[in-house]
């Protein structure tokens, strides 16, 4: 079974003869199928947002969607192109500050339409930054790349302390963000949730198409064997940089959304634990799987809430323990996933589905 060797094997949907007869045009046009999934998915998310009453649950939708944007970008980079990045938190940092600075200095009367332009700018700026990192990264392999991106995650947020920039970037306290008012039919949390989930679904739709396109196939070829890929005429460095650009763009959008939702952009929001948490989300769901990135993001975002519930259930009254449960869980997930279940949750789901289909066909 090839899934065992390639962690991202999960992205290749099993092709069965029966499925193409059953769904006709949908199985022939990938783009159409993905678009349909996206529209239906967005409808379901809207219903969920409508149904959630105000309270903790309503505030969790936007963070889940933001983490999904960043994790989906990371899973493309790590799972598909085989390059590790511990620095996607730094790309989020770039996106968040782009959004915050634009909203601070650019005043228009267009209200929420302005946000679309602001997000687009955040994506472009962090994608450009990703291109620079990618050009450096394409020369590096395995642990060297991991170390360089680790230095990026720790080093870049310190730029706010630089004496000539701390005025503009707000130093350790960061910049507070004043976003346009939500449309009158939405309350603030619902508006944030709708905005973030729409972005996450667009990102997932885009990445699903990229992954099934020529670029996606080329990236897999590069991941599996660089030398064979370059002998087949693929430009390995160009593809590796492209993967960094796409991944950084997604993280930039996530950072921009985070700035709007948390009403601030500050260095404290982008610790190393954020980048490692994203990696944990991606590994938990199954490297290279977009669906896995969604599960992983849900788990990683809800973990702090769950740890409080667990502590309460176990009568642990120590904040020290409660606040650190997520970190310990990330660690265990990363280690155990690599040792025991390399394909993550999505790998297990696909295997179960394969077994069920095989039984049905008999």
């Amino acid at each position: 079974m090839s899934d065992d060797q390639t962690p991202a094997g999960a992205l290749v949907a099993p092709k069965t003869a029966s499925s193409s007869d059953r769904f006709g045009v949908l199985s022939r046009s990938t783009l159409l199928r993905h678009t349909l999934f996206a529209v239906v998915g967005f409808g379901i998310v809207l219903l969920i947002i409508q149904a959630l009453d105000e309270g903790t649950n309503a505030t969790q939708v936007a963070p889940i969607a933001i983490t999904t944007c960043a994790a989906a970008g990371l899973t493309l980079l790590v799972g598909l192109s085989g390059q590790i990045s511990l620095g996607n938190g730094a790309f989020m940092f770039v996106g968040a500050y782009t959004t915050a600075l634009l909203l601070e200095h650019w005043h228009t009367a267009h209200g929420n339409l302005q946000l679309i332009a602001v997000f687009a700018a955040s994506i472009v700026v962090s994608a450009l930054f990703g291109a620079v990192v990618g050009v450096a990264g394409a020369r590096l392999r395995g642990p060297y790349l991991a170390g360089a991106t680790l230095a990026l995650a720790i080093g870049l947020p310190q730029i706010v302390n630089y004496q000539h920039l701390s005025g503009t970037l707000g130093g350790v306290n960061g910049i507070s963000v004043v976003a346009p008012n939500p449309p009158s039919s939405f309350d603030l949390y619902r508006w944030h949730s709708v905005m973030a989930s729409a972005s996450a679904i667009i990102v997932l739709w885009f990445l699903a198409n990229v992954s099934r396109s020529r670029i996606g196939r080329s990236l897999r070829a590069v991941r599996d064997d660089e030398i064979a890929a370059s002998l087949s005429g693929l430009s390995v460095p160009r593809l590796q940089v492209l993967a960094f650009v796409i991944s950084a763009g997604c993280a930039g959008l996530a950072g921009g959304l985070l700035a709007i939702v948390s009403l601030a952009a500050g260095p404290g929001a982008f610790p190393l634990a954020l980048s490692l948490g994203l990696l944990a989300a991606v590994v938990f769901g199954g490297l290279g799987s977009l669906a896995g990135a969604v599960y992983g993001s849900i788990v990683v975002t809800l973990l702090p809430q769950w740890s409080q519930d667990i502590s309460r259930a176990l009568h642990i009254h120590s904040d020290k323990i409660t606040n650190n449960i997520p970190l310990v869980v990330y660690g265990v997930v990363l280690a155990v996933a690599m040792l025991a279940v390399p394909n993550g949750v999505q790998g297990a789901v696909l295997r179960l589905r394969g077994m069920a289909l095989a039984r049905l066909r008999k």
Binding site: N161, L327, L339
Partner: protein
């Protein structure tokens, strides 16, 4: 001129600490071709153990140092045997992710035991008041001298261990060619465990020395994360493969950071390390002191 000399001197003692962290990374890289990203968290944990003994129970500085190094030895050995062993032969990405898992697990565990609300200070080994030359004060104190000597002794001991003892010979054989070493009767697995344990012991020393240089060092994350980045940068300058390169890399990095701190801005040390690391990797993707290897088809 005196300022330049003084800053260089003050960079040397920090550089020796980075050299020790780099040495820990290089030892593990040579033995198992893995960069131990958990090194920063491992030495954070052992320093916390020493801090707990020293501040909460009033234990003597030297006893704490030895306890920290021994606990580092145990943590390193356990990590290799139970976490790293299964991924040692797999794709490099898996090993990186496992060490990152250990890294964040130890941070969480330290936070659970000691809390992350405040950063604690660790006592220096000796006075940190600089020596005086005439009427000028050097940026070099008895504590800095102690750091330089402690790391130098360690380097010499490691050199003797690897080059002049049968265990060292076997360790080099196990790292150089595990299959042949195994055929010749070397217990390769056990020696790799010992290699990791020794590396973590070196890291633990670096942790204690670093914690004494600056108040507010001891916290689950923060300065120790940066120490890992500095150690990695130093190791990469030295080519990741050469112990001497690691020491030279550490010294160069220490001096460079000390000069940049003073002449540019002292709040963005992490950015300097990032810039130096990227610059070195761009010039020589495998480090300044490494021989070039062709990638195998």
């Amino acid at each position: 001129m005196f300022k330049f000399f003084n800053l260089t001197l003050s960079g040397v003692s920090n550089g020796m600490i980075y050299a020790a962290v780099a040495l820990a990374l290089v030892m593990i890289w040579r033995a198992t071709r893995i960069v131990n990203f958990a090194q920063g968290a491992m030495l954070m944990f052992t320093t916390f153990i020493a801090w707990d003994l020293s501040e909460q129970h009033g234990v003597n500085y030297w006893v704490c140092l030895i306890v920290a190094m021994l606990s580092g030895f145990v943590i390193g050995g356990v990590a290799e045997r139970f976490l790293v062993r299964p991924v040692e032969t797999g794709p490099p990405l898996n090993a990186v992710i496992v060490t990152l898992g250990l890294f964040i697990f130890l941070q969480g565990l330290a936070g659970m035991i000691w809390g992350n609300a405040q950063a604690h200070s660790y006592p220096p080994g000796f006075s940190f008041i600089g020596y005086k030359v005439g009427d000028r004060t050097l940026l070099f104190s008895p504590n800095d001298l102690y750091i330089v000597i402690a790391v130098a002794i360690l380097v010499v001991l490691l050199y003797l261990l690897f080059n002049w003892t049968p265990v060292g010979l076997r360790m080099r054989a196990a790292a150089f060619n595990p299959e042949v070493a195994r055929l010749l009767g070397v217990r390769v697995g056990r020696l790799l465990t010992v290699g990791w344990a020794l590396a973590a012991l070196v890291g633990a020393l670096a942790g204690i020395l670093a914690a004494g240089t600056q108040p507010g060092y001891v916290a689950p994350s923060g300065l120790f994360d940066a120490l890992l980045v500095y150690g990695f940068t130093a190791a990469v300058i030295g080519g990741l493969d050469s112990p001497i390169g690691a020491v030279i890399g550490g010294l160069l990095l220490g001096v460079a950071l000390s000069l940049a701190d003073s002449y540019i801005d002292n709040n963005i040390e992490g950015m300097y390390a990032l810039i130096i690391l990227i610059a070195v990797l761009m010039v020589r993707p495998n480090g300044l002191f490494a021989r070039q290897h062709a990638r195998r088809v």
